[in-house]
């Protein structure tokens, strides 16, 4: 019951000469929203496919909802929801027909199936369009329908492989808004003492900004996990936040900062700039110190390192460069064009 949602030990996957996954360890708690990041070709999709029982590992073990993905394949499949990179809907059927098909395929109890369909369709805002053929849906609507379908059989873990690829920024934001609310729903349930029917969300993406929405993230590069922690902690590891303060007397401020905190501040573009590990916690103390010395504070800004900086720190390259060097052929859209 209290087994982690996902537990991976020494996982490897080799395709001929290519080692797609080179020994990874991973644990995802129930109810967590876990982001799996990295450039295309880093091994994210291979890993998620192993967890979804679609690909067998070469070595190591992987368990989902406490069940081994190789030995208990069917049992794992019943407990997971899947949203793939490429669309898997039936265009001629309506949104609700697609869900009904899924419910029957997964053997969902017929007495509750209709209510459940309504529930998930309403949650993704597609209830009004349920009777229309999916071929008339926009890209974002199709993605939302696939998420609804992934949740239809109340999985313990919802796997999403690049759910926002090919979508415009606004639609991406709405998909994440929805995924984030799944997490909220989880907290509400736990707070109200409901049995922990936890939806764990395991999502891969190569958009760093999207990963900010996750509880924890793992960064994968060339088959290995190079970093694993909360987005905050990862950014804190990379380096300091930059606190930029506009004061009445910059020279006095520099003296105060040196005396009170032992830090070397500098004046850049008419503002006092200082690097500290936790900028947000530093600001109140800085205020107190400056005010005590009679230095007036006009403005303050804290700039945090981005996950792009994190990626750079761990791999020595930016995400964009990492993708460019792999060439266009690794891009999923291009793979699809080649009729993969």
């Amino acid at each position: 019951m209290d087994a982690p949602a996902v537990e991976v030990r020494g996982l490897t996957k080799r395709y001929g000469e290519v080692e797609a996954v080179r020994g990874i360890d991973l644990e995802v708690a129930r109810g967590e929203t876990f982001g799996f990041l990295g450039p295309n070709g880093a091994g994210k999709s291979t890993t998620i496919n192993i967890l979804c029982t679609l690909v067998e590992p070469t070595g190591g073990t992987a368990a989902v909802a406490g069940l081994d993905v190789v030995a208990d394949r069917a049992a794992v499949r019943r407990r997971i929801g899947l949203v793939f990179q490429e669309p898997t809907l039936d265009g001629p059927m309506s949104g609700e027909q697609n869900l009904r098909f899924h419910g029957e395929l997964y053997g969902v109890d017929r007495r509750t199936a209709a209510a459940r369909r309504e529930e998930v369709l309403r949650t993704v805002g597609l209830w009004e369009r349920r009777a229309d053929p999916v071929s008339t849906y926009s890209g974002g609507m199709r993605r939302r329908l696939e998420i609804a379908r992934g949740l239809l059989h109340s999985p313990q873990v919802l796997f999403l492989d690049e759910p926002t690829i090919g979508l415009d920024p606004q639609t991406r934001a709405s998909i994440w808004n929805y995924l984030a609310r799944l997490g909220e729903a989880e907290e509400i349930a736990l707070a109200s003492g409901a049995t922990g029917r936890g939806v764990t969300v395991f999502v891969t993406t190569h958009y760093m900004d999207e990963a900010e929405n996750c509880d924890r993230i793992a960064i994968m590069n060339e088959g290995r996990i190079v970093a694993l922690d909360t987005p905050e902690a990862l950014k804190a590891q990379v380096g300091a936040d930059r606190v930029v303060v506009g004061t009445d007397d910059d020279e006095a401020a520099l003296v105060v900062i040196r005396r009170e905190f032992g830090l070397e501040a500098a004046v850049h573009e008419g503002a006092v700039t200082v690097s500290v590990p936790k900028g947000a916690e530093f600001v109140p103390r800085l205020f107190a110190a400056l005010t005590a010395d009679g230095v007036g504070v006009r403005s303050v800004a804290v700039t945090r390192p981005s996950l792009d900086d994190v990626f750079l720190a761990h791999t020595g390259t930016t995400l964009r460069d990492a993708e460019a060097s792999r060439g266009p052929s690794m891009h999923p859209m291009a793979m699809r064009m080649r009729g993969r």
Binding site: T88, M93, F101, R144, S154, I188
Partner: protein
């Protein structure tokens, strides 16, 4: 932006996915079948266009060749060519409709829906059985329209004959659909499906005895027809129809000689058994091939 509902709503209904079992497998096969029915109902153009070819065979080829035979002094005896062709044309209609239904799984792959079916916690067998029974149902339904024309070619409206024909047609359609699925298992692109029909399905039609009686053929042609599974599905159809025709024994022997392995005349029941065996084999092969590719 779309209004999102209260996330709490998501937790109201707990849906449990039961253990695997025969019931779950049957439900999966049944919903795959239902989807084929939904698609059939939406595709009226396909129903009408698939009728064109059998009608051309029956009336144009039947009448055209029939007049050639009689003007050449050939004796067509008590059996007009369209009457003789009727069961064969039923078989050809089934062959193309069912093969298309089977091969159409390539479209499911192309549009990704095959993946939704194959990752479900049910066996590949259930999915393909649903698909094959669906294709067989569609092919049988289309044949009903052709059967209604029986009177125009001198075949009597005998209810029992129609029942027997429908059962045989369904069985044959299932076999051909399983063949289509087996062929489509490795196809990744829709474009490669059409050559498949030309290379495999069309020869099956010509080598099945649908268009000519199987007696007195050259040895090479006899061998080819005997290794064609389709032959054993066509012959019972003709047998059932000729049972209801008022023809002399000599004409029956000429137009409906049946299948003979050397001197052994293959009885109809054995032909039916063979069709069942081929169906199971082809479906089994299809399942193995799908398991390996996805």
């Amino acid at each position: 932006m779309t209004q999102l509902e209260d996330p709490r709503a998501l937790r109201v209904e707990a849906v449990r996915v039961p253990q695997s079992g025969l019931v779950t497998e049957a439900r999966a096969a049944s919903v795959v079948w239902q989807r084929e029915m939904i698609r059939f109902g939406k595709d009226r153009a396909r129903i009408l266009s698939s009728l064109a070819q059998p009608l051309l065979f029956l009336f144009v080829l039947g009448s055209g060749l029939g007049s050639l035979l009689s003007s050449a002094g050939g004796r067509s005896g008590g059996v007009a060519l369209p009457t003789f062709l009727f069961p064969g044309v039923l078989a050809i209609s089934v062959l193309f409709t069912a093969a298309f239904s089977g091969i159409s799984i390539v479209w499911d792959r192309e549009f990704g829906f095959l993946r939704e079916m194959l990752v479900a916690p049910v066996s590949t067998t259930s999915i393909l059985v649903g698909k094959a029974v669906g294709g067989a149902t569609v092919a049988t339904l289309q044949c009903v329209l052709l059967l209604a024309l029986a009177g125009l070619v001198g075949v009597p409206y005998d209810p029992l004959m129609f029942l027997e024909l429908l059962c045989l047609i369904f069985l044959m359609a299932f076999m051909i659909c399983a063949l289509g699925l087996m062929l489509a298992a490795r196809l990744k692109q829709v474009q490669t499906a059409m050559p498949m029909v030309q290379l495999i399905i069309t020869p099956l039609m010509f080598l099945s005895g649908a268009l000519f009686p199987l007696g007195n053929l050259p040895t090479w042609l006899t061998i080819l027809t005997h290794v064609n599974p389709m032959t054993y599905a066509v012959e019972p159809l003709r047998h059932v129809v000729f049972d209801r025709l008022d023809v002399s024994a000599a004409d029956r022997a000429r137009f409906d000689p049946g299948i003979s392995w050397g001197s052994f005349a293959v009885p109809t029941w054995l032909e039916i058994v063979l069709t069942v065996v081929f169906s199971v084999l082809l479906l089994g092969l299809a399942v193995t091939r799908f398991r390996r590719t996805d």
